[in-house]
Amino acid sequence: MALLQISEPGQSPEPHQRRLAVGIDLGTTNSLVATVRSGVATVLPDAQGRALLPSIVRFLPDGAVEVGYSAQAHQADDPKNTVASVKRYMGRGLKDVMHAENTPYDFLDAPGMVQLRTAGGAKSPVEISAEILKVLRARGEKALNGGLTGAVITVPAYFDDAQRQATKDAARLAGLNVLRLLNEPTAAAIAYGLENAAEGIYAVFDLGGGTFDISILRLSKGVFEVIATSGDAALGGDDWDQRVFCWIVEAAKLAPLQPRDMRLLLVKAREAKERLSGHAEARITARLSSGEIVDLTLDAETFCGITEHLVQKTLAPVRKALRDARLDIEQVKGVVMVGGATRMPQIQRAAAEFFRRDPLNNLDPDKVVALGAAMQADALAGNKAQGEDWLLLDVIPLSLGIEVMGGLAERIVPRNTTIPCAKAQEFTTFKDGQTGMSFHVVQGERELVADCRSLARFELKGLPPMAAGAARVRVTFQVDADGLLSVSAREKTTGAEAHVTVKPSYGLADADIERMLRDSYQHAKEDMQARALNEHRVDAQRLIDATRSALAEDGSLLTAEEIADIQDKVSFLEHAVTTPHTRAIKAASDALNRATEEFAARRMNASVRRALAGRSVENLDA
């Protein structure tokens, strides 16, 4: 995935060589790519100097794909093949898609995730999102004049596991090495916090095109700690457009619309909404395909009236987040406004009234998330000196659980638990002689499984027949730093085991991604192989460098014999890298990884001891 320049074997890259990393805000309405150059985060514009890339993808019959402004230009004349706001469909089945009847798209109810029928074939939201990411990746590579080490991709904090997994899959499909999935409000807090040296409790109010997040963070020197997060993964500026659209249809007494007219009026609705952020009224004119003329004027008061319930919908999650954080409004020092939809005066007023203070608007609400993501990408790529970097402690937005008898959800990991985290719970059989158990993993806060999101189902087989209640099955949930879940189950007396990375019911199998990657390469098979070889070489070289510096730093934790063994494996991998054999490189890398497992664990322990030793020295000094 990473396309770093490879140095000659035995020669490590220059110590001060900066690794090229970008932050990508994959938004519902617009997407951006940013990077840190000379210590300053900047958004990378396109050749015309435009920072935003409209998140719109058009599929043509010849297989060509248009992304951004060129696709936007065809929204009205080619509505079925021009997909906007695809983020709303990420990790979603057809039954979850709201207002499907008010969109011009031809949905296909595919297993797992919905698909859209286009002139270019049936496309999943993951594939459509990947088209947007490919354009941003190319923009990054061009601006930075080289291959990218990796990217931080932002997701709404309130995205569930299926939506996160879909986003990561899209990035992989676009050929990006994902350094981290980062929550959008957290990214904004990094950008705001570093810029303003902010300390204290801050709320980030993030209303985007299709999602709403509220995060409460504690900012202190070098630490960004998310205390609670809440939101609505299906509430955003789009919904205001939709309200205006419905108002137009009613006010102009329009008959059922053709897709083209529907899209045209949605665009007009959005323009009117945007105009009303700075004006008392907006005129809406359109000529429909029937020749019928729409000519209406929407005033700010009417606009506020028809969208008031949407404003109220943002406040319930805000209250919930504050309650979860166990904080009073007075303790919140500032409210950072993020997302283009926070430009609406009624949103500004609602936030100001609720928090009893003027919201902070000194960062561009369209760019702040991408800038924060770029800063985090820069840190993760290893471009920050120790002491210059920061610690980010984020949480899981929704509780994770398992279905138990009676269709109830048993909570295993509660929402707002700091990640990475793991939790285990024991379950047992309820029938005599039962040899298997099936598990249903769900996410959400409701008691009934039917009201939660189904993430995965898996089975543990091979239990020896025992009396009901005698088996002891330990189910472990592990959530990683990206907020992604994997689940394993183990029967204690027999050791029967099952393990799943949670993606089967919503998302793509690894094989699907590989197939899509293959399909997307029109070139010969050799190109694919060359690409794979290059990627493995880069990864292997990185592993060699990392192992060398670990040995230099912490060799004292190992016996001479252990060092010799690791050096052996390093030499072996160094040799493998010079060959054109991808499989040999992979095998040698795996061997080195296995050989360094114990070393890695000892190094973590040593890190803990050093942290504590550093503390006692400080205490003595005090």
């Binding site: 980010l392 360094t596 497992e597 322990n605 803990v608 504590l612 550093g614």
Partner: protein, 181 residues
């Protein structure tokens, strides 16, 4: 996943208190805990090892997971108390043995009735204040029994009471949520 390494196993079996270099007591200096937690996390967190090999990234995730769990346990009075008793071999065993003093159960029933009858924010606030003061009182008693008198059986009953109050607290949260919509 491969088998846990010897070093990892050792770290996983050290107590939460040892992990943070703190004395095993109910009475705890929270600012020391916070500082130790942050110092450790800033070294072991996956963000610090994002470009490392598989082995190191896995070790980082395991340690961070462990540190987060330890911090979560020690930060909460009721979890800290349960954990201290477990270290002493005393199982609070909430599900297995629910015999509680009668007067306490009666009091709990009364509190729940009040909760059901509470129709507005002011009534919930009053109940919340009363609950919090009862909790603080119990925490004082737990501290005395665990740290000074070392009467772990007595502490066990107190911890169970505190768990009852915590559950009531959750129901109170749900009531606030229902009220606010």
């Amino acid at each position: 996943m491969s088998k846990t390494s010897a070093a990892a196993a050792k770290a996983l079996t050290s107590s939460h208190f040892e992990l943070f270099g703190l004395p095993p007591a109910f009475s705890l200096d929270l600012s020391s805990l916070d500082a130790a937690y942050r110092d450790i996390q800033s070294r072991v967190h996956p963000d610090r090892h994002a470009r490392a090999g598989d082995a190191e990234r896995r070790a980082s995730m395991q340690m961070t997971t462990r540190v987060n769990e330890a911090y979560r346990t020690l930060r909460s009075p009721v979890r800290r108390a349960r954990y201290l008793l477990e270290l002493q071999g005393v199982d609070v065993g909430f599900e297995t043995d629910t015999a509680m003093p009668r007067d306490f159960l009666v009091q709990q029933m009364e509190l729940r009735e009040q909760l059901e009858e509470a129709k507005d924010g002011a009534a919930l606030d009053a109940l919340n204040r009363s609950l919090n003061s009862q909790k603080r009182d119990l925490e004082r008693q737990i501290q005395e029994q665990i740290d000074s008198k070392r009467d772990f059986d007595h502490a066990k009953t107190l911890v169970r009471k505190l768990m009852f109050l915590d559950r009531l607290g959750e129901e109170l949260d749900a009531a606030y949520a229902a009220l606010e919509g």
